[in-house]
Amino acid sequence: VNASATRPWTPDHVVRFAVGNAVGLVLVAAGWWQMADLGVVRDQLTWFVVALAGLGVAGVTNGTWLLRGLRAVTAARAEMTDALASRRTAAAPVSTNGAGYVAAPATARYHRSGCALVAGRPVEAAGRARHEAAGRRPCEACRP
C-alpha cells in the first residue's frame, strides 16, 4: 500500500473544506444581515432558515472532513495490525536478560521483548531509564 494513497487529506480536500465553511459562513451572515433589516417575524424567519442552512452546509462539510480522516486512520491501523499479525506467527520473544526493554541499535523507539517490531532483529536490552537517556521513546505498537 502506497502511503500517499491513504493520506487523510489532499490539497483538494483542504480547498473543499475551506469553500464549504466559507459558503456556510456567508449564508449565516446573509441570514443575519437580512433579518436585522426586517420588521415582520414571518419575513425574518425565512432568513433565519437561510442562516440555519449555512450551519447545515458547514456541518456536512466538517463531518465529511472528519470522516475522511477517520477512514485514513482506520486503514493505517488495519495495515499495521495485518503486518504485525503476519510477523507474530513466526516471532519468538527476544531475550532481555531481565533488563526490561529492548531496542535495535540506532533506532528511536524501545519495545517490550515480545513486540513484533523487533522480532528477529539484533537488539540491546536495557531499562526504561537507559533507553530514554539515549533519546528513545516508547513504541506506539507495544506501549512498553
Binding site: 491513504t6 442562516a51 472528519l66 493505517a76
Partner: protein
C-alpha cells in the same frame, strides 16, 4: 518552546482555540442582546448572530481540533507502517 514555531506547526489547533473562544463569545453576546431586546423582531437577529454563528464557530473549532488529533495519529501509524514495509523489503 518557541511559541511562533509552535503556532505555525499547530495552526489547526490554534485556529480551533480561537474559533471556540469566538463561538462562546458570540453565544454570550447574543444572549445578552436578546435579553435586552423588547420585541421579538429585535430578538430574532440575535438568534442568528449569536446562536447560529456561535454554533458555526464552535463546530469549526471542534472539527479542527479533532482533525489535528487524527492527523497526528495517522502520522504515527504511517511511520510505523513505513518501518514495517522497509523491513519486509529487507527480508525478501
Amino acid at each position: 518552546v518557541n511559541t511562533g514555531r509552535w503556532l505555525k506547526n499547530q495552526w489547526d489547533r490554534t485556529v480551533a482555540v480561537v474559533a471556540t473562544l469566538v463561538g462562546g463569545l458570540a453565544i454570550l453576546l447574543g444572549w445578552l442582546g436578546a435579553s435586552d431586546a423588547k420585541l421579538t423582531t429585535e430578538q430574532l437577529p440575535y438568534l442568528a448572530s449569536g446562536a447560529v454563528f456561535g454554533l458555526f464557530a464552535l463546530g469549526v473549532g471542534a472539527t479542527l481540533w479533532l482533525s489535528a488529533d487524527l492527523r497526528d495519529e495517522w502520522r504515527k501509524l504511517d511511520e510505523i507502517n513505513q518501518g514495517l514495509r522497509a523491513e519486509r523489503e529487507r527480508s525478501r
